[in-house]
C-alpha cells in the first residue's frame, strides 16, 4: 500500500498532507508570506499525528503551479530536499487540476464543468477548464494565462448554470457574469490533500520523476525583464 506526502504553496494558503491507505492527514495555513517557516513543522506534526515515519513515504507530490513564483519554489525546494534525501520520486501536480479534483470528488456538486481562475497579477489570470466525468476532472483547456480583458472570450465553454467557478480570480470578474455560474467559490485554493490523491494516481500509473528533474509550471516565462541597450556595435 502506498503512502504519499504532498506539499502546496502556490497561493497565499499553504498546505501539507500525508495520505495513508487508511486515511488522509492534512494541515493548512492561510497566513501569507510565512510558508517557508511553516511547512516542515506542519509536516513533522502530521507525521506524529499519523504515526508514520518519513521513511514510510513512497512518493512526494508537489503543487507545481501555476501560482505565486516564490510559493511554487518554496514547495518544490522543500519537496526536492525530501525526495532527494529519501530517494523517492517527486511528482508534479498542477494546482488548478487539484482545485478541480477536490470539487469533482464532492458528491454534493452537480455541475458538468469547472473553470478555475487564479489572479496572476499584471492584469492576467491563470485559467484552466475541466469537464467532470465520473467525479473526475478531465482537462478541456490546459492551464494558461488570460488577460483580464480577454475573459471570458478566451474561455472555450459558455458560462451558464452547468459551470462551476473556482478560485480568487472569480472575485475580479464582472458580478453579472459570475451570477450566471451554477456554483462559485472565490475562496477555493489548491490543497495538498487533492495533490496527494492526484499524485497517487500518477504514481500508480508509473510516473516516477527523479527529484532533480522537477521544475515549477510558471507559465509566465517572458515577463518584461528589460534587456540592456548597448552603445557599441557588438563585435562579431
Amino acid at each position: 500500500m502506498t503512502t504519499i506526502l504532498a506539499i502546496d504553496a502556490s497561493t497565499e494558503t499553504c498546505s501539507v498532507a500525508i495520505m495513508l491507505p487508511n486515511g488522509m492527514h492534512e494541515a493548512v495555513c492561510a497566513e501569507p508570506r510565512t510558508h517557508a517557516g511553516r511547512i516542515l513543522p506542519m509536516l513533522d506534526a502530521l507525521l506524529a499525528e499519523a504515526g508514520v515515519s518519513l521513511h514510510q513515504i513512497d512518493a512526494i507530490a508537489y503543487g507545481a503551479g501555476p501560482g505565486s513564483f516564490t510559493g511554487l519554489r518554496i514547495a518544490l525546494s522543500l519537496a526536492q530536499g525530501l525526495a532527494f534525501g529519501l530517494e523517492k520520486p517527486l511528482i508534479p501536480v498542477e494546482s488548478l487540476h487539484a482545485m478541480a479534483y477536490a470539487f469533482a470528488q464532492d458528491p454534493k456538486h452537480t455541475q458538468d464543468s469547472v473553470v478555475c481562475l487564479l489572479d496572476a497579477r499584471m492584469d492576467e489570470f491563470y485559467l484552466a477548464s475541466f469537464q467532470v466525468v465520473d467525479a473526475l476532472p478531465q482537462m478541456l483547456q490546459p492551464a494558461q494565462l488570460c488577460g483580464y480583458a480577454l475573459f471570458p472570450q478566451q474561455l472555450d465553454i459558455t458560462i451558464d448554470a452547468s459551470v462551476a467557478g473556482l478560485g480568487g480570480g472569480w472575485a475580479q470578474v464582472d458580478p453579472e457574469l459570475r451570477a450566471m455560474l451554477g456554483y462559485c467559490d472565490t475562496q477555493a485554493v489548491p490543497l495538498a490533500s487533492a495533490i496527494a490523491q492526484l499524485g497517487l494516481k500518477f504514481f500508480d500509473s508509473g510516473v516516477r520523476p527523479a527529484a532533480e528533474q522537477a521544475e515549477p509550471l510558471y507559465l509566465r516565462n517572458s515577463v518584461s525583464w528589460n534587456k540592456r541597450q548597448r552603445l557599441r556595435q557588438p563585435t562579431p
Binding site: A36, G37, R38, I39, L40, P41, L43, D44, L54, F69, T70, R73, I74, L76, S77, L78, A79, Q80, G81, L82, F84, G85, L86, A211, E212, A214, E215, P216, Y218, V223, W225, N226, K227, R228, R230, L231, R232
Partner: protein, 349 residues
C-alpha cells in the same frame, strides 16, 4: 564533522563539502553570469529559477567528487542571508529539508561571515584578531574580528557598495556585466594620471564609505568626452576606467589603514568579489608594509560567492551546537554583528 554547504544568495549556485578533520573535500559552482549579462545585472526572478534547476545536480556532483555518501554527511549549512530573498529561499528550503530527510542538523549561515572566514581555508591562514574588509557587489564593510563569531562593524558604505559602483561604471563605459573585472582590464590600458577622481569621505574622520558621488563623477566625465555614439574614444574610456579604479582602490586602502590603526591591529583580511582586484591587492600590500601590517585574502575562486565558505562557516556553527529548527528562515538584511558568538573553534579536530 563533515558538512555539506549550499550557497544561493545571488547569481551563483554553489555547493561544497568541508570536513573539520580533513579540510575541504570538494566544491563546485554553476555561474549564472551568462543568464544575466544581457540584462546588464542580476534579474532576481531568473536567478531563483536557475537555482532550482542547478542545485540538486550540483549536490550530486559534489558528493561524487568528495567520495562522500549520505551516511558520511553530519550537517548541512546553507546561506540564510543577506541576499536576494527568492534566491536564498531555494538553497535554504532544499538544505533544510534535506537535513530533515537525512536526520542531521542544519544551520543558516551569514553570507558575509562566509566571506570573512574564507581566507581561513588557505594553507597560511590569518591569526585572530584582525580587521576585515568585506567588499563585494552588495557590501562594503570594515569589521573588527576578535575571534571566530565575534564581529564588530567599524564602518560601511552609506550608499552603493564598491562592487556596485564598478558595475555601474562598467555600464557607463558600455562594458559587459559583471563590471569589476572588465573595468580592471580596461584600466590596465589607461593613463592613471589623466583624470583625477575624488576619494570620497577620506578627508574626514571615520570609517564609512560613499561611492555614489564617484559614480556621478564618472558619468559626468564620460558625458564630457562622449562622441556621437554616446561614448568617449577607446583611449579616453581606458583613462576613465583607470581613474575610477584608482579612486575606489585608494579610498579602500586609506580606510583599511585607518581601521588597523584605530584597532591597533596588524592583520587585515580582505574578502568578497572586489578583493580579487589586483590593483587593490598591490596597493594594500604597499601601504600596509609601511605600517608593518600584513594582508590576507582567499584564492580567487573563494573571493567571489562559493559553497566552500558556507560549508566552512556552517561547520564552525554546527560544532558549536548552533542549529536551525524546522522553520526555514531567510534574512535579506542581516547585520553581521547580530550573530551569536562561537564558543567552540577548531581548525583540525
Amino acid at each position: 564533522m563533515r558538512v555539506l554547504g549550499i550557497e544561493t544568495s545571488c547569481d551563483e549556485t554553489a555547493v561544497a563539502i568541508y570536513d573539520s578533520g580533513e579540510g575541504l573535500l570538494a566544491h563546485r559552482l554553476f555561474s549564472q553570469v551568462a543568464v544575466h549579462a544581457e540584462y546588464g545585472g542580476v534579474v532576481p526572478e531568473l536567478a531563483s529559477r536557475d537555482h532550482v534547476r542547478k542545485l540538486l545536480p550540483l549536490v550530486k556532483e559534489v558528493m561524487a567528487a568528495a567520495h562522500t555518501t549520505r551516511e558520511h554527511i553530519q550537517g548541512i549549512a546553507y546561506t540564510a542571508g543577506p541576499g536576494l530573498i527568492g534566491a536564498l529561499l531555494v538553497g535554504a528550503c532544499v538544505g533544510r529539508s534535506l537535513a530533515y530527510a537525512w536526520g542531521i542538523p542544519a544551520v543558516g549561515v551569514h553570507h558575509m561571515e562566509g566571506h570573512l572566514l574564507a581566507p581561513l581555508l588557505e594553507p597560511n591562514p590569518p591569526q585572530f584578531p584582525f580587521v576585515a574588509l568585506l567588499v563585494s557587489g552588495g557590501h562594503t564593510q570594515l569589521v573588527r574580528v576578535d575571534a571566530l563569531g565575534q564581529y564588530q562593524l567599524l564602518g560601511e558604505s552609506l550608499d552603493d557598495a564598491a562592487g556596485e559602483a564598478f558595475d555601474k561604471a562598467a555600464k557607463m563605459l558600455d562594458l559587459d556585466y559583471p563590471g569589476g573585472p572588465q573595468v580592471a582590464r580596461l584600466a590596465q590600458l589607461g593613463d592613471r594620471q589623466r583624470f583625477v577622481f575624488p576619494r570620497p569621505m577620506t578627508d574626514r574622520p571615520g570609517l564609512d564609505f560613499s561611492f555614489s558621488g564617484l559614480k556621478t563623477f564618472t558619468l559626468n566625465t564620460v558625458a564630457a568626452h562622449a562622441g556621437a555614439n554616446g561614448l568617449p574614444d577607446d583611449q579616453t574610456c581606458a583613462d576613465i576606467a583607470a581613474a575610477f579604479e584608482e579612486a575606489v582602490v585608494d579610498t579602500l586602502v586609506i580606510k583599511c589603514r585607518r581601521a588597523l590603526e584605530f584597532c591597533a591591529m596588524k592583520t587585515l583580511v580582505i574578502a568578497g568579489g572586489v578583493s580579487a582586484n589586483q590593483r587593490l591587492r598591490e596597493k594594500l600590500q604597499t601601504a600596509l608594509q609601511k605600517i608593518g601590517a600584513g594582508v590576507f585574502y582567499a584564492r580567487p575562486e573563494f573571493c567571489t560567492d562559493n559553497g566552500a565558505m558556507i560549508a566552512y562557516a556552517g561547520c564552525q556553527r554546527l560544532l558549536a551546537q548552533q542549529h536551525q529548527g524546522l522553520n526555514v528562515e531567510v534574512k535579506p538584511r542581516w547585520p553581521l554583528d547580530s550573530l551569536p558568538p562561537l564558543t567552540h573553534y577548531t581548525r583540525d579536530s
